[in-house]
């Protein structure tokens, strides 16, 4: 039962704000083709497929109908989770661990530029009885949460701004990123308020793109791939479903998920035992909140560390070398895909100008976005 699970191929289309030249099916096809080529497998040889989609983001009811064709998975065992790519990876991990499946492909994509009314779609995620009648949107709740987080932990708006500066700068080195830019803290602080203390530049903008990865059990992985990236630990957790009664100052869902994932991977001190992390930064303060929940920073210290370069690409412990969602773009259910792709590139030593030195193990963490309280953590390694 201690058979490891490895990533043996991964394909990514790259991420851009709009993609008028291709349909979402073509995006998936491109990513799938790259992943299968890397893995050296024809999709016919893959045992099972998992996609991560949400109906309302797709604009279809039962969006899982449109998964198999462009993935090469017609008449195969295919299923969907309405969850992040990283959770789908976790399900794939479980499937391999049952001993019934040797190879599995996981797909996540975003064609969010097709959505004309994204704010309204997101408003549909609010509880229809208690919250929706208040006519507030996800950004409003994020603003509340940011205020609570800053107040309880002592992190500051300026430190949140330094997350934006770092991540958008990192993205300049990432050919797959859509929002690389040089800013300084005052640009962020002076950007238009959305729901104070949240400002325009604190929020990740959206991107289109697709990621497909192929995982395999240990002996298959070793026979097919010279440098598999191993999934040492993976877990997802939800906190309280109710916006009105959950803890807003801390990311409990990540505390819980990290504890399990670290246990599986045998990690005692994440900063010593891993070399980098890709964490969810859909809003700037979320990166700080998640760093504290992951145990990478102590409570109240994530902002200080960020502002002082601890998490910079050339810092002690690089966080979001890809540029994160702030730099690459927010891709909804594919967010985990983007982050897993980055981690695989880092662990294979293929990250080019943004390569983290001596990367042997990395943490990937996602959050399902406001108003949810669901997140996931994975530990990946190359040894």
């Amino acid at each position: 039962m201690n058979n490891r699970v490895g990533i043996i191929g991964i394909g990514c289309t790259g991420f851009k704000p709009v993609s008028p030249d291709v349909s979402y099916r073509e995006l998936i096809f491109e990513a799938a083709q790259k992943a299968y080529t890397e893995a050296g497998l024809h999709p016919k040889e893959i045992d099972s497929f998992i996609s991560a989609t949400e109906d309302f983001i797709e604009g279809y009811s039962i969006a899982d109908e449109y998964v198999p064709d462009q993935l090469g998975a017609v008449m195969k065992s295919v299923h969907t989770v309405t969850a992040d790519f990283l959770q789908a990876l976790g399900v794939g991990y479980m499937m391999v661990k049952t001993g019934q499946f040797k190879t599995i492909a996981i797909e996540g994509h975003s064609k969010v530029s097709n959505i004309e009314t994204l704010d309204e779609v997101m408003a549909f995620a609010l509880d229809p009885i208690y919250i929706r009648p208040l006519k507030e949107n996800a950004d409003f709740i994020a603003g509340l949460e940011m205020r609570r987080f800053l107040e309880r932990t002592g992190n500051t708006e300026e430190q949140c701004a330094s997350v934006v500066v770092k991540n958008r700068k990192n993205a300049l080195n990432n050919p797959y990123a859509g929002y690389g830019a040089i800013f300084n803290e005052s640009d962020v602080l002076n950007s238009e308020p959305i729901s104070l203390p949240l400002k325009q530049l604190d929020k990740a903008q959206t991107s289109d793109g697709a990621v497909v990865c192929v995982i395999a059990e240990e002996s298959t992985a070793k026979s097919l791939c010279k440098n598999p990236v191993w999934i040492d630990g993976i877990m997802w957790y939800s906190d309280n479903a109710n916006v009105w009664s959950r803890c807003m100052s801390e990311a409990n869902y990540i505390k819980l998920a990290a504890k399990k994932a670290y246990e599986m991977a045998g990690i005692k001190n994440p900063v010593k035992d891993t070399q980098f992390a890709e964490v969810c930064d859909e809003y700037s303060f979320k990166e700080l909140q998640h760093l504290e929940a992951l145990g990478i920073a102590r409570r109240g210290e994530a902002g200080f560390l960020t502002a002082n370069g601890f998490t910079a690409l050339d810092g002690v412990y690089p966080v979001n070398p890809s540029g994160g969602s702030l730099g690459v773009g927010h891709t909804f259910e594919a967010s985990g895909g983007m982050k897993v792709f980055e981690a695989v590139m880092q662990l294979r030593g293929e990250a080019g100008k943004r390569q983290v030195k001596n990367a042997r193990r990395g943490i990937v963490q996602i959050y399902r976005g406001v108003p949810t309280s669901t997140g996931a953590v994975a530990v990946l390694s190359n040894e």
């Binding site: 039962i62 449109y66 065992s77 299923h79 049952t98 997802w236 309280n240 479903a241 819980l256």
Partner: protein, 387 residues
Amino acid sequence: MGMRKVAIVGAGITKFVRRAQETGPELAYQASKMALDSCGLKLKDIEMITLGTAPDAFDGVHMKGEYLLGGAGGNKKPYIRNFVGGGTGVFAPIHGWMHVASGMCDLCMVVCEEKMSSCHPHPQGAFLTIFDHTTEQPIKPTLIWIFALEMKRYMETYGLKPEDVARVAVKNKKNALDHPSAQVAEELTVEDIVNSEVLADPVHRLDISPASDGAAAVILASEHVAKRLTDKPVWIEGVGWNLDTAYWATKDLYYPRYVEKAARMAYDMAGIKEPHKEIQVAEPYDPFDYKELHHMEGLLLCERGEAARLTAEGYTARDGNLPICPSGGALGVGNPIAATGLMKVIEIFLQLRGEAGKRQVPGNPRVGLAQAWGDLMQVGTVIVLKR
């Protein structure tokens, strides 16, 4: 490396009704509580949860899985929603099986909820957006319309008359009289069915299951935990699922080849060589009466084209050689989509434990299966249970 065995140890189902007063999370709560109570567990004992529910459009809630989280007991737990359209109800326990068989946990709760009535004026409206945006939506097809095509093709292939198909509805609606959750149980005649209003020829109103609200839940346990919890664990011996192309208009609809592939996957895992002999009770998905026949053939429970004749001969009755849908199925108990599939799994669970009460089939069955179907005539999900 032996696979970890997984058992169903507890189950709960709410009533299936047309318009529930409860919200979706409340329905999920009711079913979960019943399932936990049935095996003497508390929510704190449950390590992981997987939830099944069909389109978000019914409730008009984006990220419906997150919305149902609290009701399904997911607070502060690893919780995930699985989704294969109409096949979800039987896929959900398969998903739960993955959680336990992988060694990730010893106790997993599987919850399925559906509240179709929130969709006004009729839940069929939610299905208008399942079709391809370029090639199909402009001609405004409905589900009944495309299933009429499939039903016609199936009937024509084997020379069946409306009466041959209607017998399924008569049987299932009557079986449902003994089901405590049933919504549309009734004693009807074949004439009642074929004389009911035509919706899209050859589909009559009474050929179709109703729109329903309801929820169901089961508790899955690993071998050593199951044996501590109950003397009568029911083991998940085989699981299978399969997804065909979304371009349904390109295939011959007379036979559900994806159901056969899903069934073969499950039979292989369960070591079943001759399903028509080895399966002793089955709950194929019956949202339309012809679908039961279609699925019996796809599941290899009879020869192609034989299902209608066997039904007419009483072979599939509750006291027949191979009881099919002894619960009353979607046609009788109701069809809150994901919850229906799990209701079927629960029916097999109860039948194998000998706890189905008035619905109990004779002969102490040891092996049974449940199956669901969905998407654009595209997905088959199959689970084989053994005592």
